[in-house]
Amino acid sequence: MYLSRSHIIQIIFILAGVTFIIKLFFIQVVNTEYSIAAEKNIVQRIEEYPYRGIIYDRNKQLLVYNNPVYDLMVIPKAVKNLNILSFCQAFNISTSEFTNALNRAKRYSHIRPSVFIKNIDHNDFAAIHTKLSDYLGFYIRARTVRKYPQAMLANTVGYVGEINTAQLLADTSQYYKQGDLIGISGLEAKYEALLRGKRGVKYKITDARGQEKGSFKEGTLDILSVPGQDLISTIDASLQLYGETLMRNKIGSIVAIEPSTGEVLAMVSSPAYDPNLLTSKNLSNNFAALERDSLAPLFHRPIMAMYPPGSIFKLVQALIALQEGVVQPNTVYSCNKKIVNCHPHPSPTNLHQAIQFSCNPYFYHVFKHIVNQHIVKDTYEDTRIGLNKWLNYVRQFGLGKQLGIDLPHEKSGYLPDVSFYDARYGEKRWKASTIRSLDIGQGEMLVTPLQMANLAAIMANRGHYYTPHLIKSIEGQTISTKKHVIQIEKNHFDFAVNAMRDVIDSSSAWRAKIKNVIVCGKTGTAENPHGEDHAVFMGFAPLEAPKIAIAVYVENAGWGARAAAAIAGLMLEKYLMGQVSRKSIEDYVLKGDFTY
């Protein structure tokens, strides 16, 4: 039979129509799974927010966990036959609040769910739950909110809040939606991708009254949420809590590191605040209040505050000088106060004593000898070479750069270099005497308390350190760390450590001395043109097989040997002995109030 093209076209068209009719037959008549809708049931798409990862301390104590919180959601279009009065009674709101909330929801969307009442407490929820079926169009959405069992570690752990527009735009993975929670600072931010898990979707069949009838398609379309990963941090909770107590009414930091691993045992930033303030309904109010506080509690001092290191830097100078061979342990200088001011102590001193008594003029000579080794005749050129050599060593100590701790916004501190001085004084117009304040850790150089603690760890290890970090394992998998070795011979370190021992044992820093444990350390008093000097202490214990290295920085507390050494000693004792016996020192610290 001859089929003209026009016939073929007609046949194709008709076939298409028939195919559709047949397919429709299957969808509408044969297939019953679509007919659930025939019973006026609807499929609801419910997003499941996964359980956010928990952070533990090194002994598996909770640092932050999840607290269930409930939001009352509304779909304006689905609200029918509502008895407003009884609703307001049941939910404890006024009728005007009700109208406002409903109008707000309607403005957002008539058909999309929005939050009607936020953050209903666990206890209130239980009472409301049974009444909910009386009110069409309302349902409960459960989510979790962070809770901190102890009011500490606020800045380190960080807080969680709603994602803002800038972050949404920057999110290339397109995972986040408006209203999602995201870690904003601290560990919550740094480990956000691990902590947040993965959102899931559940399709549930509900009837017209909102009662759940089961899973749609037996849950085959559901995407399971993936819970966030739990983290074990390096922090020792009881040590941390003790440190925060000691630092009350003071401004500054304590950082304690385990030298053999680089694990941060405690990180105290003072003034501190209760992290639970940033989780409740009043987050924005509380945050604003904290922001306005003139003492800046939100400023994470251990990694962000930068200070001149002061006298503790003398140890680094000594080590460099010994390694370069420009100074010997028996090199003697007298304490010539005309060179630079110094406090009373026996004079003259050798290197060991200079460290022990913290003699400033001695280190003027030390620095000069490091920087001017007469490699070339021209002093200016010689100083440039010397400064570069010096910088090369200092950088190995982890100064002038980020250490790489797992927190956002770590500052690198500052090391003035050749180009800095060139810009300031002009090329070949500066020499050792110009830059002399570097000799005792003053001048333009800046370090963070974390870097100071890391310095203590280097001394404890006699010449190396591991990258300081706050998380030691993720879901049971240990994290590896990098070892950094300083190119200075071990015997020089032994020498320096011995001097540090005597600082505690026979000198002014006796407040850091602990019974039956040999403590090594160095005090510092940092000049403060605006008020009282700042107190600094850096040290470790015990001398052999050290377990903890620590740095304490207390602003405006005067002489380092008092406040800072006392605090350090108490922290060391607490960690090594489990409890503190020197109550008088503890009282002394607790009573200290160095805020202005």
């Binding site: 026009s6 129509g17 509408q28 008549v29 659930i36 025939a38 798409r45 379309l221």
Partner: protein, 429 residues
């Protein structure tokens, strides 16, 4: 003796058209209607239903206008209309407003106009004119090229707008060309190109290159091994590989992720149950819930499904399925197919080629919209945003399709004025 014009009009077509339009209008009212909640009437101009009524009134006025222009008018000005519509199309690229992801609309005092819909009409006219020329020989390269250009230019502009769905509509002119006797080989090549294009989206291009190589080598291996044949197979294979690369490049420039996405979802319905797949699932639920007899007029469509904007346009068929059941959808499909077949019948009885080509153009365009739109709602075709003629909400599409029919009716009513082309033109059939 001249019978009155009315007697010559194809009343059957007109009747089916009016029935569909009115049904579509009432159906729009049913979308989102809720007992006790909806207070607007059919004529409330603030609702889409009311607006659609205004468009219908406009269409009636257009119908009356169309009575005054005779077929010679359309035949001589076909190219002018075409050029004008292309200019408008280009203008949207500059002054257009973005609606639904592509910038193809003009907006004026709250009224939106989409030139794209009218280009479908003018393209049918232009192609009809080109092929209706006495000198047009379908096996001549000159004719073939010019016709293809007429079709490709709107496609290019519309792709630039980002409206891939509407661009695809123009591919249906292949039916027109087939009817007029275009060499099948060209059409097959055309189809082949589209297939390669689509496959390239679904699979990584390396698969296609390797399979092309494989098939080519296999074909060389089997069968006669003369130079000519090997050369032919090799050049075709290389051409295909080259095309794959070109298409790859084009796809990255033109197609947005969601287009690729939609094709992938079609192939694997579980690929995205949350996004596009969700719409289709909801659509099937709505249709499926109609069962045999449907839920009844105004008793369906709970807007809890939450895709209301599309419910009046792309997914309007769901309402029919839900309210009238399988009986309703079958009757609707039969009526619509009857309309299309009637147009084909009318096209066949035309005495000049212009009218026949034009008629096939109208039938194909209408059929394509119907096919894709319904197919999408039942999940057998990818989600492409094109309206269901006369039923979907929208003035531009209603007017464009209506004018298409009016012009055809005019040509049909005047068909006896032409001496049969069978005695003059030479045809391949």
């Amino acid at each position: 003796m001249e019978k009155s014009i009315w007697a010559k009009y194809d009343w059957l077509l007109l009747f089916m058209y009016i029935a569909l339009v009115i049904f579509g209008w009432i159906n729009l009212y049913a979308v989102g209607y809720e007992k006790g909640v909806t207070t607007a009437s059919l004529f409330d101009f603030s609702t889409s239903t009311g607006k659609q009524f205004l468009w219908i009134v406009g269409a009636s006025i257009l119908f009356i206008f169309s009575l005054f222009f005779d077929t010679q008018f359309y035949r001589s000005l076909a190219y002018v209309f075409y050029a004008f519509s292309i200019v408008l199309l280009g203008a949207t690229l500059v002054w257009g407003v973005k609606v639904g992801g592509h910038s193809s609309w003009f907006q004026w005092h709250g009224i939106q106009l989409q030139p794209t819909e009218f280009v479908k009409l003018t393209c049918a006219l232009a192609v009809a004119k080109r092929l209706g020329n006495i000198g047009a020989k379908l096996n001549q390269f000159k004719t073939q090229l010019s016709v293809l250009l007429l079709i490709l230019i709107p496609i290019a502009f519309i792709l630039l707008q980002g409206d891939v769905g509407s661009a695809l509509v123009f591919s249906v002119f292949i039916v027109v060309l087939y009817r007029e006797g275009f060499p099948i080989i060209i059409l097959l090549v055309g189809v082949g190109l589209v297939v390669i294009f689509v496959l390239n989206i679904l699979l990584p291009s390396t698969y296609l290159v390797i399979s092309a190589l494989g098939v080519g080598l296999m074909l060389i291996g089997i069968g006669k091994k003369n130079v000519k044949r090997i050369f032919l197979i090799s050049s075709i294979t290389l051409a295909i590989i080259g095309l794959v690369e070109v298409f790859d490049w084009v796809e990255k420039r033109v197609l947005k992720p969601h287009h690729q996405h939609r094709l992938k979802v079609l192939v694997d319905p579980n690929a995205d149950p949350l996004g596009i797949g969700w719409n289709v699932t909801q659509s099937k639920i709505a249709i499926g819930s109609g069962r045999l007899w449907g839920k009844g007029f105004l008793k369906g469509t709970q807007t809890k499904y939450g895709f209301v904007p599309e419910q009046r346009k792309d997914f309007i068929f769901c309402t029919i399925g839900e309210e009238y059941g399988w009986i309703g959808t079958s009757i609707f499909i039969v009526v619509f197919m009857a309309l299309v077949l009637r147009i084909l019948y009318i096209a066949e009885r035309q005495r000049i080629r212009f009218a026949r080509v034009y008629g096939y153009g109208v039938a194909s365009v209408l059929f394509f919209h119907f096919f894709i739109n319904v197919g999408m709602t039942i999940g057998v075709l990818p989600v492409i945003g094109i309206p269901l003629p006369f039923i979907s909400y929208g003035g531009s599409s209603l007017w464009a399709f209506s004018i298409m029919l009016f012009i055809l009716l005019k040509f049909d009513s005047e068909r006896n004025q032409y001496v049969s082309w069978k005695t003059i033109a030479i045809d391949l059939e």
